[in-house]
Symmetry: D2
Subunit: 382 residues, 4 copies
């Protein structure tokens, strides 16, 4: 049966442009879906760069002005891969043009921006989703299933960390290609919006809403050369952020992120302790889930390392055979697969813009608390 | 050469009574020291119990009133192994009697109690030390050496957890033998004084003083039967506690402890990230130290698992041969060895009562912050 | 610059058909190469099946007779993905037709078959390579580099295992789609040709030629229903095989493979111990290399777990950023990339048919020794 | 109730003299037993050395001639801690004198020697046991229980290794104090009798008798200075040994030991794969047992790391609380506890001399096969 085509127009072609393009290209080889995405157009400001990217990935056309992309009738899905400071403007325009939207995380720089984006997509009733890809690591998806089945019982504790070490050198500049994450104007915040947003997104998915937080942030290197201005400028982002939280379900949580933790490249870890069982996972061995079940026979209790590569584990029947790992890139393929299935069934794909707004509210509360030194309530989604 | 004898009078003979007795008995078999401890007297309120203990461990005599023990001329060292609520009274009396004092941790229930104890031992100029035994896990001692040698460079992050799961059942009573740790009157606090005190003691040893904290605590089970009264009573202790901290050296820290973390029996973990290197350790595999050194050749960087069992690693030349583990009990033997060496050389044994008072001040600030919801400065040792 | 096209004609479309197709499709997105493979034709006996596969993967045409595929002028590369019993016939025909050949491992069922294949490709001077994909796990490739740089010094020991558990059930039939690996006629042997061939290929690459072996094999389940005949038939394959070996360089080795090791899905492990350093690796965490260097400072020696995801580690600059894993499928992409680079530079791609023949000789010696019970010399490549 | 005393006369006071003395001294503090061992006499050839040892450990008397020790009426148990070449003579004399005998492993240098020892102790009907201490690592004892309960079902595979790296330097001499293990005359063999004997003892305990073996050995450094003669002499021991084995129960096994495996101090590992479950253990983390149970729910299957420190796990109720490790030395305490209980109940303590003779027969077959290059049947215990 011939598949229906969905034309993708991608805006931005940096690191995330590659992960998304790969996902759109591969999904049909591994998943049986009604829809087949087509790499229709790619947009970037530098013509030579965008053309090279189009060549490499097989995009049919290029644009250098994102507004033109949105105007094109032959584009069904706008995929936003630009730095955070342009998410809002592009998303609102795309919604107004009736496009489906897949937006790279975080949704926006602030909750206020996010609210406008939610209003736009909900007003236009267009399909929308945010690329919080770690929800779709099979081990994480399985954690979600185990929790939803009630296997952990009452939850007492949640803890998450996202540790990196790539900005320790004082010689690293801020701003510009590849380094906009160090520029507060482009990124909105530092590790909070970049890394903790991932931890928070997973946490609210697994453990529900957060009631309140108390946080601290630090900028270890106060000034860095700015690549765009060429001058040494004050660093506006948070290099590190840690916060305590209370969830609505009564559980206690600790969250921490930094780019100053020697030895950790991208170590996102999470652990959740329930009355009956506990779960742990980390991104450096993303194909494993750690599972402890207190209902096991007493003398044989222990943490089990589950190699999540079997056909009865989430997403894995689409890949290889038991024992053979998938990696980072596959989480994006899963997101596309779910999005296309959502389109086919007229169902939203989690996380929607609205769900991603909740993460934004928590980030706002965290950054606010870090300034005031006080416990801060998280704004309700309403 | 004949060794000089030091007569030990131990007060209390519960779990810690066993670890200390074992340490005094073994130390001479493995360490070459000028002094040989003698298990002279053991004191407990129940005569049959204390006699059975004396039999088992070879104590020469028993007492049922600790004041009598302190009055005895033949006792050189008073070892305090009682619940926390009697530490102060015993220690002050022992100091006044001119005895050397080894006191089980935490020093006291509060900083205020601790101050009086410090005043007593310093006024009497008696040798004094607190059994924060985890400083003397060889891997932890080696961490201290590496830090003191400057190998980590500037410290950015410290994190510690002490997770247990033994009080999740609502049927567990509070108070009485073996359960005084759940009774706020006897223990002073819950996990803060029992478990976090260990984490804090190690932290200030490795990373210096703490400037300020913000904390949260929780008591998940609000009422439990009290073993001494037989009635259901309000639970006064903290079941869980987490706090953020800023150290004087500018580093950021997270601390957490709970007795509600399924899957963890006694998982004390610590990690410290410096500019050049990072260290991690956990109590469940206490014979290993995790070490990451950024100065390693780039493509060969990674976390190294060091099996701390070689003769050039702290304390290990006194035990077996490379590859053969020691365990928990040996940390107490090391403390006795160091104490006796301190006596021989007229040097204090770390942590002294004064050093342990700093931990008390931090616990006070933590519990205070948990009540007020505010960042709280830690009282200075002055 | 426009890339030169190379048209791929793939024969067989089972599990390996998928891994190879994916590799051909992806390689151009991630590697800068002069040649771009084109999925020109796919061949299989069942027309509906092969058409569905062609649809899914974007093959331009289908064939149901492999001889027709070989006759086609528009095919540059013949990729052999069929069961082992047809490798020889197809490869010889393809060589005679002047096609480049990529052949799935093992090269053949026996050394005798392999010799004819080597003669054919060398006589025809066509590019040839065998898909021993595990050479191109970045961690394994890095192991090769470290060994070749002399960092291990004299090698004393090599050990490898490949453990699975999928054939323990006596109800599992032999033969037919997906189960030809249990049919001696189709597969040639059991774990020896299927799994140990991988271990041997890596071993001779890393550690040089094998002098002699002594082996044992076992078939735990003696009879199974045959899917093609419908009858219960004697099982002709080895369920398990272990052998001792002496390498030409004087090192000693143990090899073992089985499909009866509960708990292991596809646990290929290897370890190599040299005078100065040791290396270990396993397929269940293929993105990590374990490294021990005795030249490290004595008290800090230990096994280092290297997360092989950095740009200065083999192949990794073509993928994501440090900390983000690739998986099983990428080893095939690497093989295609290297093959295409070999074509561009007129250089052979390791392992060539000749190199793969050495593995065949070792398998022959192993199976022979298992029958005779004697140490058996490995036939020399000459 | 007063305990009955059993006077120990220990012969030899090297490394094993320390482990045994410690065990005798500690056992009464941790185990409730009818008998209390008394460190009555220690025997060694060098008077100053033996006196210093007696001082350190509290032996009541010393001897410098082992025959005098055996003649003493006040000695109940002779504990043999001398190098292997004197085990036979001492044991036979002790048996003839009616002493109970605890003999350090291996029982003897050869099966022929062992047979005479078995005849002696069985003829004299004296209690006898060999210190194969690793049977009494709690995790290993638990493995035994799990196997005996039938939880693994039919056993398919057994594999064991004992890897060290302490003799790689060519400068290391052979012979004399601390180095008699490198002297074939004193030790009988190299790694086979020293390390593989441990692996074999555990294996036959867990998995039953061995039918036949094929082996290879190697001596990497052919000549070393001999400490006793001062001359460079041919090295007579095996530096490395590997063998394949078939057990009587139909399972296949691989065994390997070497002192040339860089990175391994004393890495004794074992794994056993059964129809339903698998077990793995290693000496470098001796407090953990790895357990895989195929009967677990399919998607939650995985290897469980059991921290063997709970009261319902073997021997552990006698030590500390859950989560707190014991180490190497405790295995000897367990052996003494079991021996004393055996004496009290008039039951043999495993492994008896007879059981240890089976290990000797296997070592003989291994060394024989290494010479002949043939599969060799293991002599039956009869």
């Amino acid at each position: 049966m011939a598949k229906k085509k969905l034309n993708v127009g991608m805006i931005g072609y940096g690191f995330m442009g590659r992960t998304h393009s790969n996902a759109f290209r591969k999904v049909g080889n591994f998943f049986d879906l009604d829809y087949q995405p087509v790499l229709k157009a790619i947009c970037g400001r530098t013509e030579t760069g965008v053309k090279a990217f189009a060549d490499k990935w097989g995009y049919e056309s290029v644009e250098t002005d994102w507004r033109k992309m949105i105007d094109r009738k032959d584009i069904d899905i706008i995929d936003i891969c630009t730095p955070n400071d342009s998410h809002m403007e592009i998303a609102i325009a795309a919604a107004q043009a009736g496009k489906m939207i897949m937006c790279e995380k975080p949704l926006a720089r602030t909750g206020a921006e996010g609210e406008k984006m939610v209003a736009a997509v909900e007003g236009a009733r267009v399909a929308n989703s945010v690329w919080y890809n770690y929800r779709r690591v099979p081990a994480v998806t399985m954690a979600k299933q185990l929790i939803d089945e009630g296997r952990l019982g009452k939850i007492f504790h949640y803890r998450a960390k996202f540790l990196q070490d790539w900005t320790i050198s004082a010689d690293l500049p801020q701003g510009g290609t590849g380094l906009w994450r160090l520029d507060a104007a482009a990124a909105g915040s530092g590790v909070t919006g970049d890394l903790l947003a991932h931890c928070i997104d997973t946490a609210i998915w697994l453990n529900g809403s957060v009631d309140s937080v108390t946080a601290m942030t630090e900028t270890f290197i106060k000034e860095r050369k700015h690549n765009l201005t060429g001058k040494v400028e004050k660093v506006g982002i948070d290099d590190a952020c840690a916060f305590l939280a209370r969830f609505d379900n009564g559980s206690l949580a600790t969250f921490e992120s930094t780019r100053y933790a020697r030895g950790h490249k991208a170590l996102y870890t999470l652990e959740i302790n329930g009355e009956h069982a506990s779960i742990a996972w980390d991104l450096h061995d993303l194909h494993r889930l750690q599972w402890f079940d207190h209902r096991d026979e007493s003398k044989l209790r222990g943490w089990k390392s589950i190699h999540v590569t079997d056909g009865d584990q989430p997403y894995m029947k689409n890949w290889w055979v038991p024992g053979l790992q998938i990696g980072y890139e596959h989480t994006f393929v899963h997101q596309v697969a779910d999005f296309l299935e959502g389109v086919a069934n007229n169902k939203p794909t989690t996380p929607s813009f609205r769900e991603a707004l909740e993460t934004q509210y928590i980030c706002d509360a965290v950054l606010d608390s870090a300034k005031t030194g006080k416990w801060t309530e998280v704004k309700s989604l309403g």
